[in-house]
Symmetry: C2
Subunit: 188 residues, 2 copies
DNA sequence: ACTATAGTAGACAAACCTGTCTACCCATGT
DNA sequence: ACATGGGTAGACAGGTTTGTCTACTATAGT
């Protein structure tokens, strides 16, 4: 609502994603957004609240971005190419909506949050569920097992691109996924 | 060397893996291992040194565990089953050597370390390279593209098992990987 | 016998964290 | 005319963090 709130949330997401939620403090966020500390605590009850809001914002942006990339696929092979070409753009910093690539915000945040924080884990898990649903529903010829394989490859490519700096991972997924698609739907 | 050093390192790895390197402090580690703070700083120059040592220990243990699981595969199909059954055991806490499952220590640690810490990033990356090499060399019929697909699926399954609690991910990888294998080596 | 090494317990410095609070400003609606 | 609510700047409390340091003990090598 208020535009200070939006300012704070944007700064928080950017900093949390680039440096990790544990590393970034409240003071850094208010300095980055040029807003008073009291204003932050007026809009968000605690740092954890702010993290949850940042996760939601990222979830929303990521889904919107991916949804656009997957629109109007004519065949499953099309969708495979669109999906992994989009990821390839992301890994190589050609998806400005998503910021400079630093792996998956949800995986990073889940790893950081002591497993004790169920709210954060929960939001990370439901993001993954939402992405899976989007991919599943975007296949012109429904095929749950292919959708499953695409999700697993997508996670693998994202972490490989980040941890090993393997920025070509998404491109190699195209061949793998096409092989699974061309093949008869594989145990039906 | 000294057995206090080993004690400290074991405690550090356990706590870092279960709660994240940022969350766990020096004081918690010495309390857990029952060792004086000065002793810790006698063996390790800083917390970062300790993190690096914990990463190395984990790397060594993980490779040894996986190496045992992949030994004596008679065919690529065999290896696929051995790999993902081993991962399945890990995800479902039947691999005691690896401790209670909480995702991949290297992915979690890389996400936490501000990208600014190149030593930590480096050690995480080289662990992944070592695992890839092990998998590649364990295939009875060498096939780099299959090895690549196995690595991507393995990463995807590990993060799905952790973030979404999808503990069956490894089992589903078996069918996917076998489909890739049965198929003619897919663009040779 | 002496000296270096590994060890204990814990106080301490210096920094940094979250969250609260005071004191003040400036719109806007009634 | 005035109260209310969003806003600023920054001090402050209370806690936690890493790393150092003192003072003391025990063991092992030369």
């Amino acid at each position: 609502m208020s535009d200070k709130r939006a300012l704070l949330l944007n700064s928080a997401l950017e900093l949390f994603y680039q440096k990790g939620t544990g590393t970034v403090g409240i003071n850094e966020i208010i300095a980055h957004s040029g807003v008073a500390k009291k204003t932050l605590y007026h809009h968000f009850g605690s740092k954890e609240d702010l993290i949850l809001a940042a996760l939601s914002l990222r979830d929303q942006r990521y889904l919107q971005w991916l949804n656009e990339k997957l629109a109007d696929a004519q065949s499953n092979a099309d969708l495979i190419k669109q999906l992994f070409n989009a990821l390839n753009d992301w890994f190589n910093d050609r998806a400005t909506e998503l910021g400079q690539f630093r792996g998956c915000f949800f995986i990073n945040t889940a790893g950081e949050s002591a497993t004790l924080d169920p709210q954060i884990m929960n939001r990370c898990a439901s993001h993954k569920v939402a992405v899976r649903r989007l991919i599943t529903n975007s296949l012109p010829q429904p095929n749950d097992r292919l959708a499953d394989a695409l999700c697993l490859l997508k996670e693998g490519a994202t972490t490989s691109a980040f941890v090993q700096g393997d920025k070509q991972a998404a491109l190699r997924c195209i061949d793998i996924a096409l092989a699974l698609d061309t093949q008869a739907p594989f145990s039906l």
